[in-house]
Amino acid sequence: VIAVLQTSGLFRRISSLLIGALLALTGTPALAGTAASDTQASRDATAQNVNEWLRRMHEAGRKRTYLGTYVVSNNLGISSARIWHACDGVQTMERVEALTGAPRSTIRHNDQVVTYLADSKTAVVEKRESLGQFPSLLGSAGIPENYSAKLRGEERVAGQDAQRLDIVPRDNLRYGYRVWADKASGLVLKLQTVDANGGVLEESAFSEIQLDAPVKMENLSRLMRANSDESRGIKVIKTQAQKTTAAAEGWVIKNPVSGFKAMRCYKGLNAGQLREPSMQWVFSDGLASVSIFVESFDRSRHTQEGGARMGATQTWMRRMESYWVTLVGEVPLPTLKAFAVELERKH
């Protein structure tokens, strides 16, 4: 019988199945190596995928003018704003007129931002360093190591044909994102931040958009200057943040929180209002960021440890010896707690 089986294809088939099962059970290194290289290759493909998608979305904002209504909703409510966006391939300008809440107008010219508050005739002038760091983030932050991307087909958003891309976290230390990008240009039309169960924590989307609208940069520039013109009786507040390093301030992270890299550190923050935290240390995994604020403990003000969630943004506060630490980030609460545990005073 064995001889018959040996000569037939059945024997070969059964033996190959048995050997395959045995190798799978024992985890043969050769096969494991093959699997690892496959995984690496797959990850490389995904890496290119995520970064290419992000690059395309970013480029769309630099090449297309548009005019539209933008709506943000989360567990705290709904806000909307009218958006004017102008660009010339290098420079980008944006005007955001709030339609809900107190009247305010925010105008951005690359990384310079002026927020004009009509009720108090106040303008806050600031430089947002994060707005100018896009290309370097793709290379340095390790986004593909933290997220994978899956294309989920096409839908219509704000009257435009859009492609839905799911950016899925590789662990539970970060949230996922669903992005609807204009099929033709790649412009982000809708963005959702989702938790591990797929629950939407926050959604921002255009309710209507007019692509290639005649929005002129010079008009926005004129308005930006007018909104921060002290001669018109406007109180101008210029925020200043002095750069420093955490080590120079006497703080370290004992063990890095997986996927997050230290980006920059500030001290002597001055917004012209409220108190001034002594240090702000910023971490990022490429898409999500965490700020660690450290200040001296004040018994009269720092009365309650704990946290709160505002949309996709979590906060966590705790006392640490003679310091009060506040962590803020678009990450799950356990991630903030991990940062709090790893933070240590050196001197």
Binding site: M57, H58, Y70, V71, L76, G77, S79, A81, I83, E94, V96, A98, T100, G101, A102, R104, V113, L117, D119, S120, V124, R128, S130, L131, F134, L137, A141, I143, V179, L191, E202, S204, T239, A241, R264, Y266, A271, L274, R275, P277, Q280, V282, L287, A288, S289, V290, S291, F293, Q304, E305, G306, G307, A308, M310, G311, T313, T315, M317, V328, G329
Partner: protein, 213 residues
């Protein structure tokens, strides 16, 4: 022009054909004028009558008279059944649906029959055993769930009260100031360029809305 004799029972064509259905639909919509008298509901078979009733129902729904439709359909079916009962001998094998025949032929027991009491008793015993077994299996899980709930309550006590009204959500203005700092200097995201700025500028915190008032 299609003729209604296509759906009349006396024709050779199958009553289930799509041509029949189309012709009936067209006739009911008033698109077929000729031959409409040839369709006789009293002489039609079950499938044709059901189609006729369905098309009535669809038509009425499309005219948004749903409540009337139900009455109409029920009335029609009741009338049709009465007509059938009158014309068909009780013992004759007719075209009633198979399910109806089964219901008629199945044995009937009184509610207080010993057979029912026996079945009810057996079901009660099975139910008790099942519930006991489930409780026995899930007791540790419940304990851990209670512990998780109590720790959640403990955590909730630490939560800062957040208003759900309007944009001024965080009652602690100092925390709100830190949120603004995070947004201005702390956000470091590849999504910041295309969407993050719009998001943060649209959804301002209480501090931003009322700064230096």
């Amino acid at each position: 022009m299609q003729k209604m004799n296509k759906i009349a029972p006396k024709t050779d064509k199958s009553p289930h054909s799509s041509q029949d259905a189309e012709a009936l639909s067209a006739w009911m919509d008033g698109h077929i004028q000729d031959g409409c008298n040839e369709f006789d509901p009293a002489g039609a078979d079950v499938a044709q009558l059901q189609k006729w009733a369905d098309y009535h129902f669809i038509g009425e729904v499309m005219r948004a008279q749903i409540s009337d439709v139900r009455v109409t359909q029920t009335t029609f079916l009741a009338r049709w059944q009465d007509e059938r009962n009158k014309t068909t001998p009780p013992t004759a094998k007719n075209s009633l649906p198979q399910q109806e025949e089964q219901i008629v032929s199945s044995p009937v027991f009184a509610a207080n029959s010993p057979r029912w009491r026996l079945v009810a008793g057996a079901l009660a015993v099975v139910l008790m055993v099942g519930v006991s077994w489930k409780l026995f299996l899930t007791q540790p899980a419940n304990q851990s769930s209670q512990m998780a709930q109590s720790s959640q309550v403990e955590a909730d006590r630490n939560l800062i009260v957040v208003s759900q009204q309007g944009n001024a959500m965080v009652r602690d203005p100092e925390l709100d100031a830190l949120l603004m700092r995070h947004k201005q200097l702390g956000t470091s995201s590849a999504l910041q360029g295309p969407a993050g700025f719009l998001r943060s500028a649209t959804f301002a915190t209480a501090v931003e809305s009322g700064i230096s008032r």
